[in-house]
Subunit: 116 residues, 6 copies
């Protein structure tokens, strides 16, 4: 894993711990519901992570994109599949999605440890 991936995960883990430590019931349930949401069901976990990634892209949330890219990588999404997902999200969401696609490609390169 490269530097971008490590930095993102370290910060994410540290702050999530604080949010959960706050004992706010709504925030805690959002976190546990979020885990439930992406589990295998009528749709596979892989397909759900692709939905999570695509929706994060059109809503243009770089941290959400990083998180779902990792999950997609774990579930074996290929680079060709990823770029087709980029095609859909850049069409639906427009060219304002391009800068997020650039950063997604950079993060994907780190995850896969190879240049595209």
């Amino acid at each position: 894993m490269g530097k971008l991936v490590e930095e993102f995960n370290t910060y994410r883990a540290k702050m999530n711990t604080k949010i959960l430590a706050s004992e706010n019931k709504v925030m805690k349930r959002i976190y546990s519901l979020d885990t439930l949401t992406y589990q295998d069901g009528a749709l596979s976990a892989k397909n759900k992570e692709m939905l999570g990634l695509a929706t994060s892209m059109v809503l243009r949330c770089d941290d959400c994109i990083k998180y779902h890219l990792e999950k997609c990588y774990e579930y074996g999404v290929t680079t060709a599949e990823l770029f087709e997902l980029f095609g859909v999200t850049n069409m639906v969401g427009g060219t304002i999605v391009i800068p997020h696609t650039r950063r997604a490609v950079e993060y994907w390169e780190e995850l896969t440890s190879r240049e595209i």
Copy 2:
């Protein structure tokens, strides 16, 4: 097909014809690129339509939702799969997606000609 489906498709077809008749090159290419985007490739057309639907839901575009619901129905997406997609989009996009989910369910009932 029920009334909602018919009204949507009639208006959509009528106005698309006008937009394409305008001979604006950019608009025409957007339309043809849109068709290309959802064709079978590394991802199946069915999976791409689900990505189109999910992104339309979090961006809260009712007409886009209707369009992709029809395509999902044509490609055999089941009601159980659809509701899992609703789960993802309502989690990612929040409770502001609920009103669009209500209208999506109503449209889906018309498409499938049966009550949920």
Copy 3:
């Protein structure tokens, strides 16, 4: 209660019943978590409904606005308080919030059974 209020509540109740009947676990938990979110706590339910209304306004979701307007009315929010909330949301969210403010005023008139 006037026509707008009745129509909104009838449709909302009918479709919510269908969504909950689907037995999709994620959707069901979102609904129950939504109820929990607005209960009295460190912040009063009234203040939380005002937060719900303000966030719905800047995200420009008319149905969400209607729902929270009703709750604000039940909790005794005054017309003067409401307009100050409109001031904040129209400043933060810009003039694209104005059309939603117009519809909010119309709905508020029905709720309070008097013209503004």
Copy 4:
């Protein structure tokens, strides 16, 4: 003027009167600042209305689109210019802008009293 134009303007005028009658200082100043924003200056009023229309399209506010379409029409924007603006906004904002473009074309036909 056709039916869509008349309905929009009647409702808009009626509700704006109520909002201004509320004597909320922030809302009143937003309205007067809004008028100031689109006056001739370093940029012409025509160019500013096109900026107002383009931003309303990517933010997908149909009422704002209608308002600025009328102003663009008054300032002599041509149908060819309008469609090039549609090209930019559909590229920047993506295919979720298409349904709003369809309704914009319908409104423009009423304003210009001729079919496209």
Copy 5:
């Protein structure tokens, strides 16, 4: 005050000075109207800052969040109140608000000079 708070305020002050120095009438009035918006009235300044924070969170503007966090801190919003506001904004706006919540918690720790 810690490093995040200082950096944000220094940059913000420097650039605001430039914007106001430009003598653009609309921009100047937006700034002065913004100040007016959050003053005590039918709603307290504290409540208005919470509305400002909540709307900034669902619109996902980190700088706006920082600004309103400072104001909320000045007006005595407690950590428990803040987390209930986070609950509302993460429910309304969805899990895409989580990364902004993480950064908000980090900023709040600096403002209050203690770890959560």
Copy 6:
């Protein structure tokens, strides 16, 4: 050219090359269509770049803003024109556009090599 401009262009060029090298047909056509969109036509390229900038501002995409600021600078947009465009976008999009306006002013200073 200053540091911000150079960094933005270097990263942008590097990642665009990778995206185009992926041979994904949809992404490639989006890029070429994007170029076509801003060419002289019924509207001048200068006017189209201002539309591109204004829409990027209300959608709050800093990288898109930087790109269109450069193009606006190349086409001779003046600082006075730019600030009037800022007026429109901050009114339409609200005060959440202010932080992006601050960064836009900083970038414009680098492009024009003079302080505002």
